[in-house]
């Protein structure tokens, strides 16, 4: 029995509805949820639409020079965001590669992170950018790093009754941020992807490299980042690729075999790393 569609005007009203209707699902842009309804993977009894909550619709600059991207901000708006320079270009570049122009008019950043499909473009980019997720519950709000937020295939740290309110980005740093995606055709989910940020400091660099589409959650390894920072040699670059390749847990699916995905990781990493170095040098 469908109990209805609710369109609260504030986050607190939305949370009260979620508490009252434990079976309800949140609908943001609908790009993933409605596709799942059409495929009969879900049949929600009630929906709480976030479409009327103004607080969730804006990208605002925060006091430290970072940004708060409201959960209902569409991919199109992030893809067009000119303030995301330096390292934050990784987020803008990922948004610009999501699906296609029409779906980018619909899909939202909050919906994408809460859906946590490992083939999505945002999760690795947000981990690379050092983003945090703002989560609201009836007891208050908390923030958690993107890295901790994604816990498994389609699973996040969200508890029942909680919702994603925003994604916070740290202030952009000089250097480069980029997102490379390998997909069978334009607009497909990633077969594999690399999100990379590189902070240029004199001759040395500080790198964060994240692999997407090759396991349950975005893959980042501190040791690999260490090897890719400072003044990395070709040997260190290879070792970082080997580490990420060994730690990846890809599956065989219609987009590629696990073996193929593993093969892609060091190659895509090297390509992204080289491009980031060129960009970081050009920006300094």
């Amino acid at each position: 029995m469908n109990t209805g569609l609710f369109r609260p005007a504030s986050v607190s009203e939305a949370l009260a509805l979620l508490a009252r209707l434990p079976e309800a699902r949140i609908i943001a842009g609908g790009a993933s949820l409605v596709a799942m309804i059409n495929a009969r993977l879900v049949d929600p009894e009630a929906l709480v639409s976030l479409a009327r909550i103004d607080e969730l619709k804006e990208i605002i600059e925060t006091p430290g020079g970072g940004f708060r991207i409201g959960a209902m901000v569409r991919h199109r708006a992030v893809a067009a965001e000119v303030r995301f320079g330096g390292t934050l270009a990784v987020v803008q570049m990922a948004a610009a590669q999501i699906a296609n122009a029409t779906v980018r008019n619909m899909g939202t950043i909050g919906g994408a992170v809460a859906h946590a499909d490992p083939g999505l473009d945002y999760p690795p980019a947000l981990v690379a950018a050092g983003a945090t997720i703002e989560i609201a519950a009836e007891g208050g709000r908390r923030r958690m790093s993107a890295q901790e937020f994604f816990v498994d295939w389609y699973a996040t740290a969200l508890q029942p009754g909680e919702m994603v309110c925003a994604v916070h980005l740290p202030a952009p740093r000089p250097g480069a941020g980029l997102y490379h995606k390998l997909a069978r055709v334009s607009g497909d989910y990633a077969t594999a992807s690399v999100a990379l940020t590189m902070v240029g400091e004199d001759a040395a660099i500080l790198t964060r490299a994240v692999i997407g589409g090759c396991g349950p959650t975005p893959l980042m390894i501190d040791e690999a980042n260490r090897l890719l920072s400072g003044q990395p040699s070709a040997q260190n670059l290879r070792r970082a690729g080997d580490l990420l390749q060994a730690a990846a847990d890809p599956v065989d699916d219609v987009r590629g075999s696990a073996e193929y995905r593993r093969m892609l990781i060091p190659r895509m990493l090297a390509r992204a790393f080289d491009e980031a170095r060129v960009r970081a040098a050009a920006s300094s």
């Binding site: 790009a31 409605v34 596709a35 059409n38 929600p44 296609n100 008019n105």
Partner: protein, 158 residues
């Protein structure tokens, strides 16, 4: 059996009142309730673009929009676009460039092309190729669609 939800929207400038199940998509409402069959059901997953319509001036997938969530919004389908200058120019260009064969994808192509031209009045081949990448066509091989969109763009220049 599902309860119905009462929704009031505008479709092609006419007010429409509907009673729909929670999970009914705008595409189903347009095609099965309003007999507006221009928007096509291809994949029903947001991939093929054949159901593209405008909602409040923005190109969206009708198959990924829930009718109940469109309350108060204004929908434009290909049936309502007869007086639209850009759509008319695109239709002429599609015919002249032979940018369609079976025609199944064409209503979605036209709406997507209109949205593209709104943001980019003189798109390059690459701009069209990227901007229209969410609209699949299994007949033309795309080059003629790109030609048609750019032909229409040139004619729409002031």
């Amino acid at each position: 059996m599902s309860d119905s939800l009462h929704v009031e929207i505008k479709v092609n400038d006419s007010p429409v009142a509907l009673d729909v199940p929670l999970t009914e998509t705008l595409l189903t409402s347009l095609r099965d309730r309003l007999q507006l069959t221009g928007a096509k059901r291809g994949c029903n997953q947001g991939v093929c673009g054949a159901c593209t319509v405008m909602v409040d001036g923005v190109a969206v997938r009708a198959c990924l929009s829930l009718t109940a969530n469109c309350e108060g919004q204004s929908v434009l389908t290909i049936e309502g676009a007869g007086n639209d200058r850009a759509i008319a120019a695109l239709q002429d260009a599609f015919i002249e460039a032979a940018a369609l064969q079976c025609g199944f994808c064409t209503p979605g192509q036209l709406i997507a092309a209109r949205a593209l031209l709104e943001h980019n009045a003189s798109p390059s081949v690459e701009d069209v190729s990227k901007g229209m990448s969410g609209n699949l066509c299994r007949c033309t091989g795309y080059n003629k669609i790109i030609d048609a969109v750019r032909m229409a763009a040139r004619r729409l220049q002031p």
